[in-house]
Amino acid sequence: MNHIRKKLATFFLKKADTEIGESSALKSRYKQFRLTLLVTITLIAMLPATGISVFGYFQYMLLLEQQERVHLNWHLEDSKQKLETFIANSPVPPSADELDRLLPTINAQLEIFLVDWDNRLVTSSESYGDKGDLCELNAVQLDDGISTVKKRWWMGMTFQGSAPLAGTDWILVLTNDGPLSRATWVSFQKNLVLTFVLFLGMGLLIIYQLVSILTSRIRESDAKRMALLSEAEHSDKLASIGRLAAGIAHEINNPLAVIDQKAGLIEDFLDFSEDFTHKDRLNRSILGIHEGVQRCKVITHRLLSFARRMESRLELIVVNDLILEVMGFLEKEALYHQIRVDLDLAEDLPQIESDHGQLQQIFLNIINNGIDAVGLDGSIQLTTQKLDDERVQVTVTDSGPGIEPEILKHIFDPFFTTKETGKGTGLGLSITYGLIQRLGGTIQVESEPGRGTSFIIALPVHHRVINENNRN
C-alpha cells in the first residue's frame, strides 16, 4: 500500500513539477492539444466501431427474420394442408364455432385464425379482435398465398403469414411474436443500448487515458528541452561574459602593474630619503595605493580564473575527505560566527575522478556563501550521498534567510551580487558554476525566503570530456 501511495505521490509531484514554470498560454495550448487529440481519436476509433455495431445489429435482425420466415412458412403450409383436407372431407362447410374449436388443434404453437377477403375475422383471435370484427392486422396481404412478415421495429417483431384456403372464401392467418416477443424485444434493445453505452464509455475512458499519457509525455519532453535550452543559453552567456571579462582583466592588469611599480618607486625613494615634512603621510598614501592595487589584483585574477581555460588535473578523490578538508579551512570561520556544522556523510561513496583543487574551490565558495548567509548562530548541513553508480551528490544546506525567487534566477550570473560594494565581486558562484560544469557535474539551488537555501551538487564518478565550446 505504502509503495503504491509513494508511486502515486511521485507521479503527481512530477506532474506538478513539470507544470511549474509553464506560462498560462502554454498551458492552454496543451489543453487545446489534448482536446483536439481526444476528439480526433474518438472520431477515428468510435465511428467505425459504431458503424460496425449498427451493421451487426441489422445483420442479426435479418438473420432472425429469415429464421422466423422459414419457421412460419412451415407452420403455414402444414396448417393449410390440414385445414384444406378437413374442409374437403367434411360434407358440410364447418361453422364458425366449429372452426374456433378446430383451429387450436391444427396448430397449437402459434396464434391461428381465419379472415375473409374484407379482412373481417371469421374466427375469434386472441390478440386481434373477435369474430366478425375487422382484424387489427392487415391479414389480406399477399395474393400469392405465401407468408408475409409484419414487422414493428420499435415494439418488437410480429411475424404473420396469410394463405387463402382452397375451396373457401377464407384466408388462413398465423401470427407469431417469435423468439423476440414484445417484452424480450424491449429488454433486448435495452441491453443492447446499455452495452453500447458501456463500451462507448470504456472506449472514451481508454482514449482519454491514452491522450493524457501522450500529452504529459510531450509536456515532459518540452519541459526537458526548454530546460536544456535555457541551460545552453546560460552557459553561452557565461562564456561570452567570460571572454569579455578576461579581455578587461588583461587590459587592466598592465596599467595596474605600472601603477604598482610607480608607487613602489616612490616608496623606494621615500625609504632611502631622510625624514622630511609629510613623509609619514606620503608613506601612508603609498600604502593606500598598494592596497588599491591589491584589491584590483584580486578582482582581475578572479576574472581571469573565471575565464581561464584550465586543464583539470584528474585524480581519484574521496569526496568525504575533501569535504572534511574544506571544513578544516572554514572551521574557525564557522566557530567565530557560532554556526553549527552538521555532517551527514554517506559511507558507501565511490571515489570520483576529478580535480582536487577545483573541487576545493567549489566547496569553499559554496560553504563560505552559506556561512555568510547564516550570519550568526545558525547551522549548515553537509550531506553526501551516492545517487547512482555514475554520480555522487553533495548537498550544502544553510539555515539562512533564503533567497527571493527573483534573485535566485540570477544567482549564477557573473557580477551578480547582493553583498555591499567591495565585499563581493559577484563572481564566486559563477566561477563555481563554471568549475562544476567543467568537471562534468551539475549544480542546483533550492531556496525559499525564510527557510534557508540548499545547493545540490552532483559530480560524475568518471570524468567525461566536455564540449570545448562550453568550457570558456
Partner: protein
Amino acid sequence: MKTTETETTVLIVDDEKDFAATLAERLELRGYRALAANCAEDALALVLSYPPDVVILDIKMPDLSGYEILEEIKESVPTTEVILLTGHGAITNGIDGVVKGAFDFLMKPVTMNTLLEKIQAAKRKKDANNPEQKGTQ
C-alpha cells in the same frame, strides 16, 4: 644603497614602457644593473651586447611573442635565465614557457619582494650551472 647585487645584470623586456623603466629604476636602487627594452628587436640587441644574468620577459609583445624571444635569447646566450612575466592569467602559458626553457613565471602585478626572490634564485641557478663564469662579469 645596497651594493651586494652589483654583479647581477637584469634585462626587463616589456612593451609597457613605463613599467619596464620603473622596474629597472627600482632594481637599480637595489643595486642591480638593470636594462630595459620595449620591443623584441631592442631586447635581442641588448642581450647580445650586454649579456644579462636574468631576463624578465613579458609574454605578450607586439612584434614577437614572448616565447619566440625566449627561444632566441636561449639560443644566443644559453646561460641567461629568463623569468616570464605575464598579465594574461593562464598558468598554462607559464608552464609552456618553463618547458621551453624559462626559469619560472610570475603573474602581473607582482610584488617587489617576490620578483627579487625569483631574480636571486635565477641568478643562483645560473651560477650553479656555470661555476667558472662566476664573478668574471
